[in-house]
């Protein structure tokens, strides 16, 4: 009897499964095509966002979504990172030395109907700079006069900070010094406005757990508004009818899928459930290049992959050892055989692509010179070289690169370097406590300008993490901030970078690219150095490509 019963249930279950399976076959039209007809972009977006408050988040997945919701004074340009695209500001001017900027705001509205006012920006910038909020990205605003002092609690009156609403529609910003690239900086998430009325309603200016940025309460001024947010599944945005330039917006909505795993994302793409992936498993890049060259997309990305050397530890106290290690690396081999994503072998810290700044070519592959330097430092042929270890954060990709470099050092210099991995948070601790010999690192620019890289290695900078300090370097970086002309500034950046590359507290390895899969139905998705796309110019051409 029991067996009969079991048999029956079993059969029933099987039938249900099959039935569901067949039912879900549907009409055979791929999801990507259906979505394209509805004007909805399906985008893989990395990990689940930690929040959508522009003043608290720091990550790329968060920035990608917030970019659809909020618009700053200057918006993201569809193709050119340097071209200022008018956003909330319809016009702007600056004084002769680029230290006072005046923005004229357009008649724009928040999605709850409130007008966007100059005072909203004052409030927003006060919010991110308020010590009590504890915003990690507050230092992005330190170019503004007295912003740092206010953030550090040295002055309490925000009136002394260089941001003023001259009237409802005029915002004046006074900077610490000449900053011609200010328009490029204020595109950053940390400069985005929030609606003060809404923030005040939900806990106030400095409440980290404020409810204003939840699905129910989020008020936008950008092309899209928040439609749904299901943790670890989907964040959907839809067209914002209140947006000042709503007629330009071509998409009806975007679905951001938080997918951590590159393989899962790839399966979804091949199952026709995504128009864009966030990334591609590096091992599969050559394969995708073969089977779907029209979908595999590689675009430059303003990031630098390098190794830090702990200059407070033997043998890296000796600059000759540091240089030897750097010159011994055939980085071309690494990008071709290991990373395979079209990355460029780095010959300096600042990546290529920044207009007006030619990337350094100083650090070339020169094994003979490397061997000579190592011998001069007292380790001919690697003899007597102390045991050192290379620290990476746990990741298959970093390990592969580390193993290649380990082999190259052994081959060229005869030295043995161990590799060990630490889990992310522990690795961060070890790195900032200088508890390592060699440490893997990467840095993505916040804005398109050399200083986003060079400022990092000044003495006492929290991101230096090498123990390296050079008075001349510090002085030149400070001079660059105050330089009179763009040419002079670029020359100073060049000089600082060359000091760094001569002293070599870091070993540049490669300059990043972004590798992802893109459905041919997606149009207007241009390569951007900071990967900051303006979704209002993106559209979908249904069935532009054949079904795979």
């Amino acid at each position: 009897m029991l067996l009969d019963h079991m048999r029956r249930t079993w059969r029933l279950l099987l039938l249900t499964f099959l039935g569901l399976a067949l039912a879900s076959c549907g009409d055979g039209v791929p999801e990507t095509e259906k979505a394209a007809r509805e004007g909805i972009l399906l985008k893989g977006n990395g990990t689940e966002p930690k929040g959508l408050d522009p003043h608290l988040v720091t990550g790329v997945p968060e920035g990608a979504i917030i970019g659809a919701l909020l618009e700053g004074l200057i918006a993201r340009h569809p193709t050119n990172d340097l071209e200022p695209e008018p956003g909330m500001a319809e016009s702007w001017e600056h004084n002769g030395d680029f230290s006072v900027w005046t923005f004229r705001l357009r008649d724009a509205k928040w999605s709850n109907g409130d007008p966007v006012l100059a005072s909203d920006f004052v409030y927003s910038w006060q919010r991110i700079l308020s010590p009590a909020l504890g915003a990690e990205y507050a230092p992005m605003l330190y170019v503004i006069e007295n912003a740092e002092a206010f953030n550090m609690g040295e002055i309490e009156d925000f009136g002394q900070v260089g941001v003023k609403a001259l009237d409802d529609k005029t915002l004046q910003v006074t900077l610490q010094g000449s900053t011609p690239h200010f328009l490029s900086m204020i595109k950053h998430t940390s400069y985005l406005p929030v609606n003060p009325r809404v923030v005040e309603e939900h806990g106030g200016m400095t409440d980290r757990q404020s409810g204003w940025s939840t699905l129910e309460n989020y008020v936008v001024n950008g092309p899209f508004r928040l439609k749904s947010w299901v943790t670890n599944q989907l964040i959907e945005v839809e067209r914002n009818p209140e947006y000042w330039d709503a007629e330009t917006v071509r998409l009806n909505g975007i679905r951001f899928y938080p997918i951590d795993n590159a393989n899962t994302e790839e399966t979804m793409f091949r199952n026709n459930r995504l128009h864009l992936t966030n990334t591609v498993n590096p091992d599969k890049i050559p394969y995708f290049g073969e089977i779907m060259p029209d979908r595999l997309t590689i675009s430059p990305y303003l990031g630098s992959y390098f190794y830090r050397l702990n200059v407070t530890r033997e043998p890296f106290t000796d600059v000759r050892v540091r240089r030897a290690l750097a010159l011994a690396l055939d980085k071309q081999l690494i990008v071709e055989r290991v990373t395979k994503g079209g990355q460029a072998a780095a010959t300096g810290l600042v990546p290529e692509g920044i207009p007006g700044y030619i990337a350094s070519t100083t650090v070339q592959y020169d094994p003979d010179e490397a061997r000579r330097l190592l011998a001069e430092a007292g380790y001919p042929g690697g003899e007597g070289f102390p045991e050192v270890e290379l620290m990476i954060n746990t990741s298959e990709a970093h390990r592969k690169i580390a193993e290649a470099i380990q082999a190259l050092w052994k081959r060229e210099l005869g030295i043995q370097v161990g590799i060990y991995n630490q889990e992310w948070k522990v690795y961060l601790d070890s790195q900032s406590n200088l508890d390592y010999d060699i440490s893997r690192a990467g840095w993505i620019g916040d804005f398109v300008y050399p200083s986003t890289f060079t400022e990092m290695f000044t003495t006492g900078n929290g991101n230096n993490d090498t123990g390296w300090s050079n008075a001349r370097y510090d002085r030149l970086v400070a001079q660059a901030r105050m330089a009179d002309s763009e040419e002079e500034r670029m020359a100073l950046f060049r000089e600082t970078e060359e000091i760094l590359l001569a002293e070599m507290p870091i070993i540049p390895i490669y300059w990043y690219t972004r590798v992802f899969l893109k459905d041919p139905q997606v149009q207007g998705w241009h390569p951007k150095l900071l990967d900051n796309h303006n979704y209002k110019y993106v559209w979908l051409e249904p069935n532009a490509g054949s079904q795979q």
Partner: protein
């Protein structure tokens, strides 16, 4: 029986308290902080953040405060996910895991138990060898192989089923099958073992000698006892299947609890780690209690004391 349950509940509460204390200490002693990031944070700013979450207090005080909150059912905010509380995160993901877990477990039982009974009754025939070899393969084949394999066949090649996500009933099929097959294999082997042991008992020989039909022996005399090993496994299996299906959740992009377990630990999201640990421990305690009750009901040699 009530006394038995009450006693076990008190024991369970003490176990939970112990687990909470140990987890709290381990979390506090782990290197790394929920607030560290690749970009350096000025010490002044870090101090503000730490004060907001109460990290500026001595550890003893933090323990007492957090224990007090937990006793009131308040697990606190997530230290990493802005404006989400631990209770919210668990509230969102637990039902998903519960659904996936119960369907998988049902599938596992419906496949595993009959296969085990069949194999025991027809032992050393092909009806024994085939299901047992398959189940051996099922145990050996980890879910991270089975999952992508099923996704490849049914999702990419046949295009019958969606490969990832959690947006409708058809999305449950592949992950539930992956997880269910794995546990079915265990249940099959445990049931077979249990049944074989019963079938070799003296009373079975007596029954056979008396001429009791084989089907009555199997269904009436042996089944109850033969299922005990499988039932013992049911408790931990259910707790594990609900909270620990991290691999399956990652492969199929399911917004369940398993992903949070790993993510909370990696993010050093202390409050979330604590909340999840307490939840998992409570589930094991309760499941084991239920299993014990069922065991006594099935096995006349055991008593509630």
């Amino acid at each position: 029986m009530l006394k038995f349950i009450a006693l076990r509940l008190v024991q369970g509460a003490l176990v939970l308290l112990g687990i909470y204390a140990v987890t709290f200490l381990l979390v506090a002693a782990t290197p790394g902080s929920p607030f560290s990031s690749e970009r350096a944070i000025a010490p002044e700013i870090l101090a503000q953040i730490e004060a907001f979450y109460g990290y500026d207090r001595p550890i003893g005080e933090r323990f007492v405060t957090s224990l007090g909150n937990v006793l009131q059912g308040e697990f606190g905010p997530s230290a990493v996910y802005a404006n989400r509380t631990v209770t919210q995160i668990i509230g969102e993901s637990f039902p998903v895991s519960l659904k996936l877990g119960s369907i998988s477990l049902l599938l596992a039982l419906l496949l595993g138990v009959p296969a085990g009974i069949l194999a025991a009754v027809k032992r050393n025939t092909w009806l024994d060898y085939v299901p047992m070899s398959v189940s051996m393969a099922g145990i050996c084949l980890p879910t991270f192989v089975m999952g992508p394999l099923l996704a490849l066949v049914f999702g990419l090649i046949l295009q019958w089923l969606p490969v990832a996500g959690w947006y409708g009933p058809e999305f449950v099929i592949l992950p539930a099958t992956t997880l269910g097959l794995y546990y079915a294999a265990y249940f099959a082997r445990l049931t077979r073992g249990g049944m074989l042991e019963m079938l070799n008992q003296d009373f079975v020989r007596t029954a056979r000698a008396k001429g009791v039909p084989e089907s009555t022996i199997v269904w009436k005399h042996c089944l109850k006892g033969g299922l005990i090993p499988a039932i013992t496994f049911l408790g931990p299996a259910l707790a594990g299947i609900i909270s620990g299906s991290f691999v399956v959740e990652t492969i199929f992009q399911i917004p369940g609890l398993g992903q949070w377990f790993v993510r909370a630990a990696l993010n050093r999201d202390d409050f979330l780690v604590l909340g999840l640990t307490v939840l998992f421990a409570a589930m094991i305690v309760i499941m084991n209690l239920l299993v014990d009750i069922v065991q006594v009901a099935l096995n006349p040699r055991l008593k509630y004391d």
